[in-house]
Symmetry: C2
Subunit: 150 residues, 2 copies
Amino acid sequence: MYLEDLRVGQRFTSGTYLMEESAIKAFASAFDPQPFHLDEAAARASVFGGLAASGWHTAAATMRLLVTGGLPFESGLIGLGGEISWPRPTRPGDTLRVESEILSILPSRSKPNQGIVTVRSITLNQNAEKVQVLTSKILIYKRPQPLTEL
Amino acid sequence: MYLEDLRVGQRFTSGTYLMEESAIKAFASAFDPQPFHLDEAAARASVFGGLAASGWHTAAATMRLLVTGGLPFESGLIGLGGEISWPRPTRPGDTLRVESEILSILPSRSKPNQGIVTVRSITLNQNAEKVQVLTSKILIYKRPQPLTEL
């Protein structure tokens, strides 16, 4: 889909992604080495009450789900920024999916072939509980024109 | 540092983190498999004009810098959410650092031993150019009271 194919209120659903315990610990080890992401006993004693994925791991998994079909934008998913929150933790063994909705579409005034789409992407676990809410601004292009029309 | 040690306007600087090309491609392969994060030629032809790290990789590297001294909160960095933007791409070979500033401190009314701190963390490359601006809400605790005071 290109800019001209989108409309406000359109919804998209991604495939699924399993958050394995080993992957949660590996990600945390590399990027968020805090006890509640790395060690079950420490996690039980923490505010999380058990091992929890780094929020940035949930964000990264969400991006994978969006890029691999969750948001079928032909020109790619080039994010300019957005708002993110984690209403509850992602747990080992959770299977995530992402439901997205187009909130607004803003064609560029200076660059006629592009625009910015605002998308809300809600990441859910297998119990349909929200583990992340991301509202992002994505750069999107119009369908390339065939050369014969030039 | 605990909740009572913080004040609005306080600033913190992290260590540094090298974004290696192999790590950029490995992260993108796992979480953001788009051509401009994986392949130099495709990236040159894209809006990035050359290989660029996934924004989520920049976010993850930023978290590592914050956790490993960039924000020395004794009770850990438990993020509730925030706003993120990527004013320019992170490139292979960039050395990142994070400069943070406390924007607000909100003690909890219902839980006297905790509060929420809003922190702006700016991730800079070796040329002091902003590659990410993150404003996050972090759960923070007061200093644990010695048992002798109970």
